[in-house]
Symmetry: C2
Subunit: 270 residues, 2 copies
């Protein structure tokens, strides 16, 4: 047993979909969340900038005594995971491998779709992970750069004409490939799952990369005997922009009100 | 005459619409442009973060020997201009007052529309500027948070269904107020002017805040005897993310290929 907290970070609020699953599966864990709301989005930036930002995010998290770090951001997982693992002496969990495993196990017709940010898709990380599991699987990837701004502007619901049109525009190509499994390769996208499901049509399984990452990290911590054993854990939230804006939006991602402390961090000092 | 360069900055690429006008009106001026492409957008962030970023941008520009600074960003002009003026001993020009003057002079029916980022609209800066010129003018403001991501994803043209639908969604309310003049209160928006003009319908004058800012700054420098007197000036470009991405996109904003040096800056060190 290890009572230390688990650190979780994302470019912004998307990683809270992972926190939600961590809380559901392991309510006894203490969590420290950092959302880089002052520099979001990461998915449109260069690999070099993503790596610089990710290192600062981890340096901030490591100012706490942590037993593990969860990279609840596909853009960082796809562009900086190896570096973060090499530089840290605690387990660092990413989103790519768990979602790839679930997708490979789920597909019946061997055709998997992948949607994500420009930087995630450009990295080819999902294709490599899936190919390593089963080289006969075909992956059809599509960058969806407007999905994150749509979600962050609260335009994620069925019936919103703009988000439905954008989804149609992005997903038509992937749908035409007749995939039976679609990886939502960005932790913002679960908030679009109703729109994505409607656009893809019935019979397509959606894989939630944030939730799968949470489940995989907890399985590994359990195997290593590192779960807390406590009845109820606490969550602390840190952001690099306004804490009020965070509190207002975060409940959408968490599926419940933010309880516990929310503080602001000057991330560029880390 | 003053042969020193003029510094120009923006959260990203939008300020290049101002550079384009500076080059057209005053080809003899040397320009140093900084685009904070590693932290764009500013328009969704808090006033405090906008001020912190703007101060760093100006500190970087002042590592050159400049005769003036042009804040080619409405979000910064609306949220940090007074601070930047107080902290700098060279003229600092913003976008709000020049565009407000042109709009006030242009409107016949005394109804002016304003579109901009969330932070620009929230600041109320345009309303104050217009009311100071003529308190009988009515201003109808609408934040258009998806316009910047659309432009940055190259979705700015007539015929793109998504941008036309978003424009309709944002502008219907302003159009219903029967404004005869609409301030494009974000230096990204001139790239959407065809879409905006079509949506607003005939008889609405669009005011380009970046172009008006350039013209006003040059008039003031001329009055002060500070223009360069050179036949041909040079432009240097600095960005905080990938220089390749910049060179690729910048020509859209500049209306010509980027000639001259493009370099990367680690802006958080300023």
């Amino acid at each position: 047993m290890d009572k230390r907290a688990i650190g979780v970070f994302d470019s912004g609020l998307g990683g809270l979909t992972c926190v939600r699953e961590l809380r559901r599966l392991a309510p006894g864990e203490d969590l420290v969340y950092f959302g880089d709301t002052g520099r979001v989005p990461y998915g449109t930036r260069s690999r070099e900038t993503i790596q610089r930002y990710a290192r600062q995010d981890v340096r901030f998290l490591r100012s706490f005594d942590l037993k593990a770090i969860i990279v609840a951001c596909n853009t960082v997982s796809a562009n900086a995971l190896a570096e973060l693992r090499a530089e840290n002496d605690v387990p660092v969990y990413g989103t790519i491998a768990p979602a790839a495993r679930v997708a490979a196990a789920s597909t019946q017709n061997r055709r998997v779709g992948l949607i994500g940010t420009a930087a995630s898709v450009r990295s080819g990380a999902y294709e490599r992970a899936i190919s390593a599991l089963d080289p006969t699987l075909r992956v059809y990837a599509k960058a969806c750069p407007l999905f994150v701004p749509l979600v962050e502007n609260g335009r994620n619901r069925l019936g919103d004409q703009v988000v439905e049109l954008v989804a149609q525009d992005y997903l038509t190509e992937v749908k035409a490939k007749e995939v039976d499994t679609l990886i939502m390769g960005c932790t913002h996208y679960p908030l679009l799952s109703a729109v994505i499901a409607k656009t893809m049509g019935p019979g397509v399984k959606l894989v939630d990369s944030g939730a799968e990452c949470a489940a995989a990290a907890l399985r590994d911590l359990e195997e290593k005997g590192l779960l807390s054993g406590k009845a109820a854990g606490e969550s602390r939230f840190y952001v690099s922009d306004s804490t009020e804006d965070f509190a207002r939006l975060a409940s959408t991602f968490l599926g419940e009100s933010v309880t516990g402390q929310v503080e602001r961090v000057v991330i560029q000092e880390y």
